[in-house]
Amino acid sequence: MALRDAERPLQERPAVEVAKARSARRSAYLIRFGFGAAVSVLAAVLGLAGGHRFGGLFLAFPAILPAALTLLEKKEGLAQAVSDVRGAVIGAVGMLAFAVVAAQLMRSATPVALPAALGAWVITSAAVYVLMRSLVHVFGERQYMPEIPTVEALPVITALRERRLSIAVAESCTGGAIAALLTAVPGAGAVMRGGVVAYDDGVKQDTLGVSPEVIAERGSVNAAVAREMAQGVKQRLRADVGLAITGLLGPHDGDEEGATYIALCMPDGRVLLRHYAEDHGPGRNRERDIRMALRLVLDGVSGEPH
């Protein structure tokens, strides 16, 4: 039964998870301490050299954010890093309120100036956040997958349509993200047969016909499994080409973190294979896998050299 609108989780609800703060690496906090200390010293030295107003500029210098965003992108993907900057816009508006209140009260009401300024940051940030959420409720999210814009899947759908080829997708490590991206392109219905999220080995065997012996002997992340997944999804969903992906996104999936095999079964039965082994962190691995799968389909159906 379809969810009623009221039951549908449009946005993740705000929450505080103390365990998350405790689980963060001590080295990450040390790096941030170093950055914070360095910028504070820089602001103080520049204040001495160029006057306190000049030094004050650097109390709002974005020194820590680039490092934090880079770590976040590696750990959770670019979409989360972009979300973080969106949040930082709100925090920056609050920071402006902090500075204005601090400047207003510093001489006239010195004891309460900093607590009031901090309160102004909290209240302003919270107000802007609530306003932004309300706007999203009214206007809706513009992008389905911010980390990989739908436009990147457009050439794949166009190439398939031009050659009158249909496609079926079997995904393990990407969990249906490739199918979601392809079906977000207008006109995808003309070429997209469907997809199978074969996350479990049993589904790979039962639904796609992957040989149990191959999985028992070599595991589920290798070229042979990717090949059989591509052949199986092409045949069982009666598509002209079958795309398959199996991989270890890490960091808890095993020793070969970041290893991925992508296979494309062509209309004539040939299978094109790609293997990527470099680990960029789970978030970026996932983005790379989706992009490389799209590229393999484009290259395969366009007859580009492989």
Binding site: S40, L57, A68, T70, V85, A92, R107
Partner: protein, 114 residues
């Protein structure tokens, strides 16, 4: 209090405050809300507190005035940074667009605060 000691105190307090707000940010979900703490006035709070205690009200006031321009520049940087990240990734996107902060902050300082 000597200037060197004040600078050291500002460094230690700034680092500690950044860690405190980072820990708060780690605990908050979703990421868009946690991102607010990425632009928390952690360094400002520490530096202004030390300035107020060690150097006096006038210094803290002057620093606050400068911070208004810096914070306005921060908003500009974040807005440009969203597109920078989407196009260039986190490291290149955020570092290359830092120029936006420098141009905005120094322009505001030169026009209104110098």
């Amino acid at each position: 209090m000597s200037q060197v000691l004040i600078i050291v105190l500002k460094g230690l307090a700034g680092g500690a405050m950044v860690v405190l707000f980072s820990a708060i940010g780690e605990a908050i979900r979703p990421r868009g809300l946690a991102g607010i703490t990425s632009a928390a006035p952690s360094i400002a709070l520490a530096s202004l507190l030390v300035a107020l205690i060690a150097s006096g009200v006038t210094t803290a006031y002057e620093l606050s005035l400068g911070m208004i321009a810096g914070a306005a520049a921060m908003i500009a940087w974040c807005l440009v940074g969203i597109e920078g990240l989407k196009r260039l990734g986190a490291l290149k996107g955020s570092v290359l667009t830092t120029g936006v902060w420098f141009v905005s902050a120094l322009s505001l300082w030169a026009v209104f605060l110098r």
